[in-house]
Each structure stands twice: as C-alpha cells, then as structure tokens.
Amino acid sequence: MVTPTRKKDRIDALAASSADFDAGVSLAVSAWRQLRRSPMFLTGAVIIGLFVLVSLLSPWLAPQDPSEPMLIDQVVKARNEIPPIQPGHVLGGDLQGRDFFSRLLVGSQQTLIVGVLATLIGLTGGLTLGTLAGAFGGWVDSAVMRVVDVMLSLPSLLLAFSISALFARPNQYTVIVAVAVVQIPVFARLLRGSMLAQRHSDHVLAATALGVKPGAIVFRHMLPNSLGPVIVQSTLVLATAIIDAAALSFLGLGNPDDRIPEWGQMLGDVQNVFDTHPQLAFWPAGCIIVVALGFTLMGETLREALDPKSRR
C-alpha cells in the first residue's frame, strides 16, 4: 500500500533539502533554517519560552501568597517544623512556613529581571566601550582595552562579589549592577574585535571613498555589521548573569528582604536544613540550572548557526 503523501509536503521537503545549497539566502534566513531543525535549539527555546511565560504570569499562577506563612504553621509553631506536602501545598512549605511552590514560581520573576537587566546594562556598557575602541583605534583603543584586560583578568564572580560588597546596603539593584559590570569587558572585547575587522573592510573603504562622514561610517556602516557576535554573546551572558546573580544572593549579597522570593536566596536560606529537607535546595537549584541551560543551549546553537565558519 502506498503511503499517501501530499504533493505540498513533497515540494516542501525538496525545497528544504536544496535550501542548504542556496547561496542567495541571507545569513539570518539560512541560520533560521538550520536552527528550527536543531533539537538543541528547540529544547533551549522551549525552556526559555516556558520560563518567561511562568515569570510573567506567576502572580496569577501562584496558588498561595509567597510572602505569607501558612495558617497551619502557626499551630505547630512551637515545634518549628517545616510544613510537609499537603493538599493546596504541592511542595509543602519553606523554613518560615510559606508555600514553597508559590515561592518557586514567583522567584522566577527576580531571576528574569536580574538576568535581563544585568545583561542589558552590561551590553550597553560593552557597546559603548567597544565602539569607542573600535572606532577611534590608536591610544583610545589601547586605553580602553587595558581597562578591559584588567577586568577580564579577575575571576568574574570574585569581581561581582567585590562590587556588590562596595554597597553599604545590598539589594536587588546592587546585584544587577554588580553582575552587569562583570559582563562589560566581554562585550567590549567582542565588539572591538569585529569593529576592527570592519574598519579594513571593502565597504567601509568604499563609503570613505564617497566622502561619508566618520560618524555615519561608524554608526551606519561599521556598528550594524559588528553586532552579530555581540547579540549571540548576550544570550550566553544571560545564562552566566542568572548564575552569578543567584550566587551573590546565595552568599547574602542579594536583597535582604526575603518576602520577595529569589532562587539563589532560597538556596542560601536552607543550607542548615539541607540534610533533613534536601527538597528545599533541590528545587531552586534545579530551576537555576535548567534556566541557565536553556539560555546556553540557545546561545550556543545560535552562535554556531550564525558563524560562517561552522556552516555546513
């Protein structure tokens, strides 16, 4: 018996197989064709999609108030017991008797905010420094790059730790600043490298030969062509930013107000009861790992797809 195959499907399959040899398509289009068939990219995309969705909707999704202790806890307060799994509380409660599942859900918000803001600020700083270095060259380049080298020579977590220790009262914003500053040198270096390559490219020479002003050359001809690797890097940086932020909170340099849940802080709070209640550490740690993995999978596959050298 012949399997009924629709004509349209066959044509699509044919088109897809010949797409790889089509030199006329742009890098972005061919990257997308490669990505949408990559299981790694799809896994990452699904994780990140769910994560963003959950964090945006968490105030409505959370079954309980994440900052209010359960009533049942007040009854057995004397025994200082951690509430077990029970109807209405799928993961039980935390040390203070607050609904653990709701805290996990709402905690994703902080992770998203810190991750995205820190990456954006780091990106802005890196773009500024990288553009300065790449556009001017000469001593400006040397000066900027030496600062960047010094920052890169320090372990990133140690640097973030030192920066947040500079603030008298750590809160969620100091975490963002600390994590952001650590990301600046990576972006700056990357952008400077591709800007330098652009400086000697034919189309920049051609633009110069047309009398285009230096400002327009930098912002219209060099910068847009140098952004690719930086954008890819920012998806990877999102992962490190989330881990770094969690680490800072874990070490007590995050938001001291524990009514707003945060995964790193939740992890730090339960250090003493880890041997009796490992689930309290397991869930937030698992969340951090999965989300970071999601961003890394997306970033790595994106980088591979956009890198002309690794294109098949």
């Binding site: 020479l205 633009a207 030969a209 047309l210 285009v212």
Partner: protein
C-alpha cells in the same frame, strides 16, 4: 589644462624594523576632461595604491605619500581631511573591484545611494529617493523602485556593480576612478559593465581612470595607456599605438600572452617568465631585467630613464622591442 595632473607621485610604505617599500615610484600622468586613461600592470605593480593615493585613502600611518596630485589646479595631497572628505564622492568618484564586499550588507541599496546624495547635494531623503531610482534606472537596473528596498545579497553580481557605479556617479563627479571594476564578474557581464561605463563617461563628460590588468579592457575603453611595472611607468602610449607597436619588452610580453583568435593553429602562448617576486629594485638597474628576454648587461647596472620617443610616447628601456616593420604586400 588637464583635469587631473599626477606629478611624481611616490608612495613608500614604512614599518618599524623593516625596509621601507616603495610601492609607487615617481608616477606621473594626466587626464583631460572626458578622457579615459588606463593604468595597466600585473598584481603588485602599484596600480591600486596609485588610485588610493589620488583619493587620499591610504592610511595616515605607515604610508608616506609625496609628489603632487593636481585636480583643477589644487593639490589634493595638501588638503585637510575635512576638505578631502567634501571632495570625495562629489568631485572624485571611485568604483571598486568586488561589488559584493564594497556594498554594506546590512543596509538597503536605496539608503546607500541616497546617503551620498544627502551628503553632497543636500537633498531631502524623499527627493534623494526619487533621484536614486532615477540613477538606478540610468545604470540599467530594471524595476529600480523595488530594488531600492533590497539588500546587496538579493542582487546579482552585475546588478551590484551597476549599483556601485550608480552610487559613484550619483553626484556627477568630474573624475571617476575604476579599480578593476570587472574582475569579479562573468565575462558576459564584464562586457555589459564596460559598455555602461563607456556610455556614462561619454554622456556625463566624466574623465575616467581605468585600473586594470586586462588588456582587453584597455583596448575597448582607454584613450591613453600607462603600463606600470614595479611602481614605475615603463611605457605610456596612445591606445592604438600601444597595441600596434609595443616597445617595452614587458608590454610586448603582456600582449603576446593574450590568446588570439587569428593566431595560427598550434601556436603556443608565450608567457612572461618568472613573477613579480623576481624584481630587483629600480635603483640598481631595470626592475624587469631578471624576467626580460631583451636584457643586456647594462640593464642590471644602470636604471633606465624615461625617454620621450615621439608621438606622445614615453618609454623606460635600454633595449626596446623594435617596432614592427609595416609589412608590404608582396605581389
């Protein structure tokens, strides 16, 4: 008066800890308005460096440029960066070799054309767009309005070169420098592009400096030809004379290495032996001597001077090729 008057143009590349390298050595030539002058030579003979020096596009550090480049009486080499920037694109246009890499890949064609118009002709974006469509139409790009919003990768090779020519001619410069504009194109497209250049140059009265290694291009386009070897002009002649009677052994070699349809069957092509790497410096003799079939002892000892051999021809050779005797038809 000549539109462009290049006198003793010399470009020396200097690098710390290395011998300075003279890429262009006292090159002089003139271009009259509406005239097409060819600079011919193989890779590394200084053609492109000459064009970049005229445009003021050589890096400030590392390249020492001397001599004069007179444009309507002003020495372009003495202008400030800002003055030179105002002239580039407006008075002097340039078309590069590789049309794909010379266009900005992330900006639509239309913006790249209007950019020049806005810069030099103070046009509004709207007016410039109309003008840009007009320009694309003029260089033979079909459906120009649609093309304006397309990106370079969506255009074919010939189309891209047409777009580049449109951009270079957008402000009607009086001088256009074309640096091997057809090298990256198919042979059929090459002919079209050359025909287009020829037509535009004639219609707009633009002077053209054609840089090429392709003598076929020279034969079809140039009024006057300068043959460069190792940074110096070795022979300069009017087109017909150069092809009819090449005097310098290098020019002769170039011409006899071109396959010809009217050559007798079985006749082999005669290549020029060796490569540019075999050059000796000009200061101890003739740079071409190691590869020259006519080389004499004097060629490796005394630098040949440039001589006027009449008919507007210049020659730099101790032992030139004899002009062919006009064959008499034997009865």
């Amino acid at each position: 008066m000549a539109l462009l008057e290049v006198r003793d143009l010399t470009v020396v590349f200097e690098r710390k800890g290395e011998q300075p390298f003279t890429a262009v050595d006292h090159v002089s030539f003139e271009v009259e308005p509406g005239q097409t002058v060819g600079l011919v030579g193989e890779s590394g003979c200084g053609k492109s460096v000459t064009s970049l020096a005229i445009m003021g596009l050589l890096p400030k550090r590392g390249a020492r440029v001397s001599g004069t480049v007179g444009y309507e009486g002003t020495n372009l080499l003495s202008l400030s960066d800002r003055e030179m920037r105002d002239r580039r694109g407006r008075d002097l246009g340039m078309v590069f070799q590789d049309p794909l890499s010379s266009l900005n890949p992330v900006v639509p064609i239309g913006v790249q054309v209007t950019e020049v118009l806005e810069r030099h002709r103070d046009m509004s974006r709207k007016k410039a767009m109309v003008e840009a469509a007009d320009l694309l139409d003029k260089v033979g790009i079909p459906d120009p309005t649609r093309r304006l919003s397309e990106y370079p990768h969506q255009l074919s090779g010939g189309m891209r070169q047409r777009a580049l020519i449109a951009i270079a001619l957008a402000c009607r410069p009086r001088l256009l420098i074309a640096d091997e504009p057809t090298t990256a194109l198919d042979v059929t497209i090459q002919a079209q592009i050359l025909a287009l250049l020829k037509e535009l140059v004639r219609d707009m009265g633009t002077a053209l400096v054609m840089i090429t290694h392709d003598l076929g291009v020279v034969a079809g386009l140039c009024d006057e030809v300068n043959v460069l070897y190792a940074g110096r002009v070795v022979e300069k002649a009017e087109r017909h004379e150069l092809f009819a009677a090449p005097r310098h052994p290098y020019t002769h070699g170039l011409l006899s290495s071109i396959p010809r349809l009217d050559a007798p069957r079985g006749q082999k092509l005669s290549p020029i032996k060796g490569s540019v790497a075999d050059n000796i410096p000009w200061d101890h003799g003739c740079a071409f001597a190691p590869r020259c079939p006519n080389a004499l002892d004097v060629c490796v000892q005394v630098t040949p001077a440039q001589e006027d051999i009449g008919g507007g021809r210049l020659l730099r050779c101790h032992n030139p090729v004899r002009p062919p005797v006009v064959e008499e038809v034997s009865a």
